[in-house]
Symmetry: C2
Subunit: 270 residues, 2 copies
């Protein structure tokens, strides 16, 4: 607990495994600039670095220039701040910068990955040429949000999937849920997210205290077509309602993710 | 269920109880403009109107001008789309337009009310002169989000409370929780939101299937001071963690609200 409280106020940086030597870590580019120019850090200051995969450490800064900072490992830290359930938020490409909101807030909330996909009722026109640039921007948002929220692992941002690719991916997860407006309107409805979780626990798909991979599929603004709903159910995903209100696309993803984190025990109570 | 599915595609408008006659409803101003100019509705078209308090009805439009639309009540509808728990989201005034995000998404998610408050570590400078204008803007966001998400009741937006006023309000709720970063980091922590809910159920504060009023207090970007945490606990609020990550102020409010809606049975499973 002492560490947690300390670590709260300590700046975090994600580096690549290559930058993370056994005893020293080298930070470059925007990170070095941020340390020297924005945070005005000095030799002896401590930060936390993580490679987002297998190592996390408290390090002391040694040599600082705005383009490169060298630091010494003071203490290896356990990577124990990650949720038990690895939730991938698959989001039908929403309008404007809504995907950025989902990625930023979803990273804070503990998503393991984001999977944008195309579908019939998409309101936006998908532009493959802008793809690389957008993925780069989304990855930057993930990194910033992960540092700010003290994630140990960096959520993955998958390339934009076609509907067929999404359908093929459903089988890769222990549990796949898709948010469907006609489902689960309140306690009387028999297929809300909570019902699906209960069913999955009862049938042994989800086991108490064990790690699981969960796919949460949220449609674009226009929702899913009846054909799509049928196809994804055929692939093994279950329709799950999020309540009696109509949620915007980006709200649905975040509400579903928060509920899954809650169910996985991230907020205690299990 | 037939109604729900129909109602999904029907436009909704919130009117004042005064506009809602026994057999006719009169819509004016922005609503009339929206119907005639934006939606291009015609005589005979049906919409849903609600006074946000006690009546909701399907109405057929009779006479339309861009400044006034008269409609006849076709069918009184049950106001049954509201969550069992009335959750008030008390949010320490955040920077920029973050409060608008909390209000928009919180309305979709089912919040009963919003209560902005001032506290020690507020990053923003509170400006009482701008107060009226801001409250008006927040109320407009509530109305739009409530119509879009098919709320039956219009969430209240309280005036900005001082810390003292907030403390005095704690006793008005069946259960008051405040999100505190040092609390409830994961399953090992003993005071996550889920633990607090379980305790409240065990002690009879929350009763299964009964309506309850819950106050969810979220600090500003700077969090609560130790003195504030002590004061609000003294007033009867319980510290509740939302997981092992550091959430932005606006994310914490929405995550906590989604978890409370989930617990109240809004997404099934209870």
């Amino acid at each position: 607990m002492t560490f947690n409280v300390q670590g709260f106020n300590m700046q975090r940086y994600f580096v690549t495994p290559e930058q993370f030597g056994e005893l020293t870590v080298v930070l470059r580019g925007e990170d070095a600039h941020h340390m020297v120019k924005v945070m005005r850090m000095k030799s002896g200051d401590e930060v936390i670095v993580t490679d987002g995969v297998s190592r996390e450490a408290r390090v002391a800064l040694k040599e600082l220039t705005p383009s490169e900072v060298t630091a010494e490992v003071v203490e290896e830290l356990p990577m124990d701040r990650e949720p038990l359930w690895q939730v991938t938020v698959a989001q039908g490409l929403p309008k404007g910068d809504k995907m950025e909101l989902v990625i930023q807030k979803g990273t804070e909330l503990g998503a393991a990955a984001f999977l944008p996909f195309q579908s019939e009722r998409m309101v936006v026109q998908y532009d493959a040429r802008k793809e690389a640039k957008r993925l780069e921007r989304w990855s930057r948002i993930v990194k910033e949000a992960a540092e700010q929220s003290h994630r140990s692992r960096l959520p993955a941002v998958h390339e934009v999937h076609s509907w067929k690719q999404l359908i093929a991916a459903v089988a890769d997860y222990d549990l796949a849920l898709f948010c469907y407006e006609a489902e689960g309107h309140g306690p009387s409805g028999a297929s809300g997210l909570g019902d699906r979780i209960r069913q999955a626990r009862e049938s042994g798909v989800l086991k108490e205290g064990e790690p699981h991979s969960v796919l949460l599929v949220v449609g674009p603004e226009g929702g899913f077509s009846a054909r799509e709903a049928e196809e994804i159910q055929g692939a093994g995903a279950m329709a799950a309602g999020l309540g009696r209100r109509i949620l915007r696309a980006e709200t649905a993803g975040l509400a579903g993710l928060a509920a899954l984190m809650y169910e996985s025990g991230e907020m205690g109570g299990r």
